[in-house]
């Protein structure tokens, strides 16, 4: 590039920094969002155990090995002294339209994230093509929360209905969905189906953090043989 262009880029390259206030504000909102997505009903004592320094607490005992569903179901994060999460951060509060069309999707590293068909923009006048029918992060999270809630109340049939109603080709959260299905199959008494699904799960997701939950379910044939 020309020296003038290089000089311009050098000038602006390190500009555009957020302020410390920006950093802290987003952190407070993020804290509140994570707390909002945690399981309702987490005890107050559990919440207070995390308190203000939830990030430190989160990173130390869990060590980063935090699966999505573990986060949704077991992490009770206090938010009483933090800024409220933004309105749409709580997946349960999202409208179905938002969930269906506008939430960000999970980008696996290495995914061709820019290879999706472009959408029409008023400015660029790009050729219009329909948006790819992908499930978004919030839609997936909303589903998994719904499924988890059904499993918690022992309503495996409702969990299966929810999973069946929300089919997707997006494999980002496939392990969590598959694990939830196995547990739901156990709840409705379809042990053989659950065991078959568990075998497939072990093949497809050998390092998944959900293996433990499956091992403790009816899908573990050895467990079922124990006296």
């Amino acid at each position: 590039m020309r020296p003038e262009t290089e000089a311009f880029l050098s000038l602006v390259r390190d500009a555009d920094h957020p302020s410390r206030a920006d950093e802290e504000r987003v952190l407070r909102a993020l804290t509140a969002s994570i707390a909002a997505s945690a399981t309702p009903g987490t005890s107050a004592s559990d919440r207070s155990a995390f308190g203000q320094t939830w990030f430190a607490k989160l990173s130390a005992p869990i060590g980063g090995k935090l699966s999505l569903l573990a986060a949704l179901t077991s992490v009770g994060l206090g938010a009483g002294d933090t800024a409220p999460a933004r309105r749409d951060a709580n997946v349960a509060q999202l409208s179905s339209a938002e969930r269906a069309t506008s939430a960000p999707t999970l980008p696996p590293a290495g995914t061709a994230v820019l290879e999706a068909p472009p959408t029409t923009t008023a400015a660029a006048g790009a050729r219009a093509r329909p948006d790819p029918q992908v499930n978004t992060l919030r839609a997936e999270l909303a589903l998994l929360r719904e499924v988890q809630a059904a499993l918690k109340r022992g309503d495996g049939a409702a969990a299966l209905r929810a999973l069946d109603a929300h089919r997707t080709k997006d494999r980002t959260l496939q392990a969590e969905r598959s694990a939830a299905r196995i547990l739901a199959l156990c709840q409705v008494g379809l042990t053989a189906e659950a065991q078959k699904a568990a075998t497939e799960f072990a093949r497809r997701h050998p390092s998944s953090l959900q293996r433990e939950a499956i091992a403790n379910s009816c899908a573990n044939s050895q467990r079922n043989m124990e006296p």
Binding site: D16, P18, L69, A109, A112, L137
Partner: protein, 186 residues
């Protein structure tokens, strides 16, 4: 009691510690994430939400992160996807003029510092690039990622990155020259 998907604490603590926690990732990369989102066209009004989305994804997927891979590339891959989604959402709604993603630099150009004016110009020039070129240009020329790193972030091959970058550079440079020449013309 029905088995839960929640991992028992002892299982969680048995696994090897990872090199990064959410807090570490946030503290280390918030600035870069914010900057990239802004440069990829997320409007100021949505910047907080978009940044929050990026770190929500980090929070939820940290366990799946391949620690042998560069954290920055993983994080930027998330940011690129989130920025794309916000841009798409904005264009779908068509309620927010594209100019709104240019940082509010003040009431009048005459009142701006040279730096503020340069940043504003940068965003105007970036707005003239299409999304793919813009992304490659921001990652290469502003965040100074190598082309192999960009291939990791975007999941496209080297030739594609080189091609987009070459085209983006030409377009950016031409637009900058035009602006400069028009500024110099009385």
């Amino acid at each position: 009691m029905a088995p839960s998907l929640t991992l028992p604490a002892d299982v969680v603590t048995e696994v090897a510690p990872r090199p990064a926690s959410v807090e570490v990732v946030y503290r280390q990369y918030f600035g870069a994430t914010w900057r990239v989102l802004r440069r990829l066209g997320v409007s100021d009004a949505q910047l907080d939400d978009a940044a929050q989305d990026v770190f929500l994804v980090v929070h939820r997927r940290l366990a799946e992160f391949d620690a042998s891979s560069p954290l920055r590339s993983w994080l930027f891959a998330i940011a690129v996807r989130v920025a794309s989604d916000y841009r798409r959402r904005r264009s779908r709604r068509r309620t927010e003029p594209l100019d709104e993603c240019i940082p509010d630099a003040g009431p009048s150009p005459m009142q701006l510092s040279e730096m503020q004016e340069s940043v504003r110009l940068l965003h105007e020039l970036l707005n003239e690039l299409d999304e793919k070129k813009r992304t490659v240009f921001v990652l290469a020329e502003l965040e100074q990622l190598s082309v192999p790193e960009i291939t990791q972030v975007l999941g496209v091959n080297l030739n594609t990155v080189y091609s987009r970058l070459r085209s983006a550079r030409q377009q950016f440079e031409t637009a900058l020259l035009l602006r400069r020449s028009s500024e110099e013309t009385p």
